[in-house]
Amino acid sequence: MPVESVPLRERFTQGLDAPICLTWELTYACNLACVHCLSSSGRRDPRELSAAEARGVVDELAAMKVFYVNIGGGEPMLRPDFFDLLTYAVDHQVGVKFSTNGTRLTPDRARRLAALDYVDVQVSLDGALASTNDAVRGEGSFAAARTAMDNLAAAGFGQFKISVVVTRENVTQLDRFADIAQGYGAQLRLTRLRPSGRGVDSWEALHPTADQQRMLYHWLLERPDVLTGDSFFHLSALGQPLDGLNLCGAGRVVCLIDPVGDVYACPFVIDREFLAGNVRDQGGFAGVWRQSELFASLREPQSAGACASCGSYDACQGGCMAAKFFTGLPLDGPDPECVFGHGEDALAARDRPPGAALLGHSKVDRAGIPIPVPTPVRFRTSATA
């Protein structure tokens, strides 16, 4: 009886016939303007997929047996056909986990969600205190998120998720986040801050320090029930690997479909360099997933480059491609947050400046000038204190 000899991780890096799961951002419209928004969201794009086209994407995912999608945005609940699409997806055995800022999660909508099977809700919260959260997500966003959680709890939704992007400021509040989650019977989910989208501008001031990363690693090791979306695999170089697949799944087992149908290698690399195709292309999403040259190249063995001589390369795989790309580091070298400090050295020595934040879909005034998002000035002050 043949028992698997090739390690699963190797199989995954060579890609699968269909993604394990994928992120689907339904709209670039958002009523918040978070400083670290991966997709620089704000304004709806007139080219966004129509309701019929979105249902077509669900049909394809169902045919490919993609069991669930992570829906985001923008704020997905701003899409007028949000509930129709949600129902259509779950009716076709495509489960939905969606992320929301909670501003539109009224008691009535919470009850509608509670009545749907196969739907998970992640409410974003980037501070256990209103002041910490609102400095990143905007005034009043903490109260709105807590109200949304109250509404879910009152509707008997069950176990929702509280999703936290770990920053230099909130990494000291991990136990408080765990308490908030416990109070709701919710699951805590922590993910890594990426220098993508508007994060290009805020990453330097907001990403956790080296000491904080080590603390986070040990905190996570002790709490295997905290979800991470496998996003901290660069920390596995510190020793015992964190739970999860510990690999970069971009274009191999995950990808992103953006609101206009563009397919990118992962949710953190909305850039032409990582654009594989569009679901409106002939062949649809399956064609992009199976035939894109970009994805084919990502499924080839990758060079360890400057990391080749490091004994921990097997553990961290050189870290996150997006984090390197947007901080101006070579893709075959250390992650900017390499736990051995090689990333900091590389940042100091880089010959290419970090990418400028693209305006993307950020809101603009009538003259076309970007409306400033809250600048995390106080983080710069506290970081040097």
Partner: protein, 103 residues
Amino acid sequence: MRGLLSLTDIVPAVDDRPFDPHLAWRVHPRVALRDESFGALAYHYGTRRLLFLKSHALVELVSSLHLFESAAAAMEALVPEPERGTYSRALARLAESEVIHAG
């Protein structure tokens, strides 16, 4: 990544009754399998858990369970004797996470 299964999350036991190989077992109605080159993905729509079945033999065993009067009978027919312990442990883990259920 050792063993026949791996799990994306820590999967707490949903069903903590001991696995009884003398009962009839079948794939849980809310579980879907997707064939892959390494074996299969199993997704449980109820618990939202994803598991990787890391051998084709295990996939065949799991998908054939309903044809036999017991899991033990299925293993007798499909699994060489020296490997039955390993496969029985894998089935026990799948039972705990409700990928398969008795009856």
